[in-house]
Point group: C2
């Protein structure tokens, strides 16, 4: 299906070679056929790593929290891969700069691999690339993969929602408590962290999360998300956070497969629709797509009818018309 | 092509009937066939409204800014539709509550229509629904449609990027300047607004945006994004903001069609892949999709190969299929 890649690369990824990991990640991020083939080669060796999603608004202190948590986890000897989903402008180059700065703390530690990723240019690309990066780190033998996202967008929420555990980081501040609780991430949290807990309003924020939680119904056997206070800059509360991750992991070990299935479903739908769009571009007569866009832009054709027309042209079935 | 809808609804939307607008929006948000058919009926009557995208991090004061701007614009007699894309958790019900609160200021004004929208459950749904809501307001005769988003996620950025004008709202605050500039929205701004400009750090923030802008190259005829200071709570700077929108509109009037084409392309790709996924669900044998997910979750099949297999099953051999 895919061109034969450098098969040595997959072997080196599986052996945990950091340069090979970085190379594999670039192939996947650039959406190359080699990247897809590589995932195929390493996929059977994945499933070991525990996937931790960490999300929160910009400025919540997620990076510092992840760094502290990494130091904490490394004491237990586990190896860690970190993917920082950083919606950075292409022209600021912030992602690369950020990597260098952040690598500082763990640079000498071969047990930690950090990769920042900017948003991709099109819908779904971010979630797709993040999944593949996590698979590479998993195949490379990392015990734990942490994915850190700015948890406001749909893509980012999808990434975290399907991780093995979702940690939502909030921060007290002028009016931000309401905003954060409205940020669409309340229903995905397995653990709440109120970071910068030395700030005024931290206890009020804990109470407002608790009040929000009290609106939900939990069966006695359900996991009830704890609300933890941390100060990432001093390290206060980080040990408790790691302990809570462990408790959740133990509590849900029988249900991990269900979550993986949910993750695979999101992924499969996304890949399928992506491959279909590739197919469309190779199948439609040259200029057909642009002519259709032009007709829609000039109001000669409405967008739903235009999409149905194109679908019929590509797959040749009138049944595809209409949304059902 | 679509089931015959209540054709009276389209007429009432075109007549600017607020209850009909609200009903049409619900049909579209729920992704019904009636909603798609309605867009088809009204589409030829769209293209009049000027689409203003306003984005910024949570807590930047976008809602207050939009309210003030609305009051300013109403003085010129123009009618306004507002779509607040509010990534609110389904269980907090914040979007509806927010509508009621916000409608207060303009409740007596038939020239203003406000709709809040929570994030949808799947990739792309948010952008899709927002486009349709804007079309409905456009067809209903609004002169201006403002779309307000939390500008961190990919979907939200896509929404604003393809509007006729993109306004990025930033706010001075502890470390937030760097975060905001890193928030992936720098390259989409036609106008920068530093809101809450009475706060400490406002001038520093203006300078840091200006420094960032100075890294970009502008041809002499290019629009150079202005950086404006506002205090939405007092209304300071709102008149200047509205004037800047007018200058941009004048400056780019010859290029508006290109932007509309970009908007239609994003939309058409999204609709096409959405309709394809519907087609997949109606075409695959029952249980086939779930069996494939199971195989992937159990590592018997890698995700790329799984997607390619499903694509082949649905459309026949990708290589052999003709163009019609």
């Amino acid at each position: 299906m895919h061109p034969a890649p450098n098969s040595g690369l997959a072997e080196r990824v599986l052996a945990g070679d950091n340069r090979a990991i970085a190379r594999a990640m670039s192939l996947v991020e650039d959406e190359t056929a080699e990247g897809a083939a590589l995932i195929g080669q390493i996929y059977a060796r994945t499933g070991h790593a525990y996937l931790v999603g960490i999300t929160g608004a910009p400025g919540a202190g997620k990076s510092t929290l992840v760094d502290r948590l990494t130091a904490e986890i490394r004491q237990s000897g586990q190896t860690i891969g970190i993917i920082a989903v950083d919606p950075t402008s292409p022209f600021t180059g912030g992602a690369i700069l950020g990597d260098r700065v952040r690598m500082g703390a763990h640079f000498q530690d071969a047990g930690v691999f950090i990769r920042s990723m900017a948003t991709r240019g099109h819908l779904g690309g971010l979630a797709r690339a993040t999944s593949d990066l996590a698979l590479i780190l998993d195949a490379a033998g990392k015990d734990l993969v942490m994915v850190e996202t700015v948890g406001v967008g749909q893509d980012e929420v999808d990434i975290v929602r399907t991780a093995d555990i979702s940690v939502v980081v909030l921060v007290p501040g002028a009016g931000d408590d309401v905003q954060a609780i409205k940020a669409g991430i309340m229903e995905i949290a397995d653990i709440y962290v109120v970071n910068k807990a030395d700030r005024e309003g931290a206890d009020r924020m804990v109470q407002s999360i608790a009040a929000n939680l009290s609106l939900q119904t939990f069966a006695p056997a359900d996991w009830r998300p704890p609300i933890l206070k941390t100060e990432a800059t001093t390290g206060a509360g980080i040990g408790e956070l790691w302990a809570a991750v462990g408790r959740f992991r133990e509590h849900t070990k029988d249900r991990r497969m269900a979550r993986q299935r949910a993750r695979q479903e999101v992924r499969l739908r996304d890949l399928l629709s992506h491959q279909f769009m590739d197919y469309v571009e190779h199948t439609l007569p040259p200029g057909e797509f642009q002519r259709t866009i032009e007709a829609v832009a000039q109001r000669r054709l409405d967008p739903y009818a235009a999409a149905a027309d194109l679908l019929t042209k590509v797959i040749g079935s009138p049944r595809a018309a209409g949304t059902h």
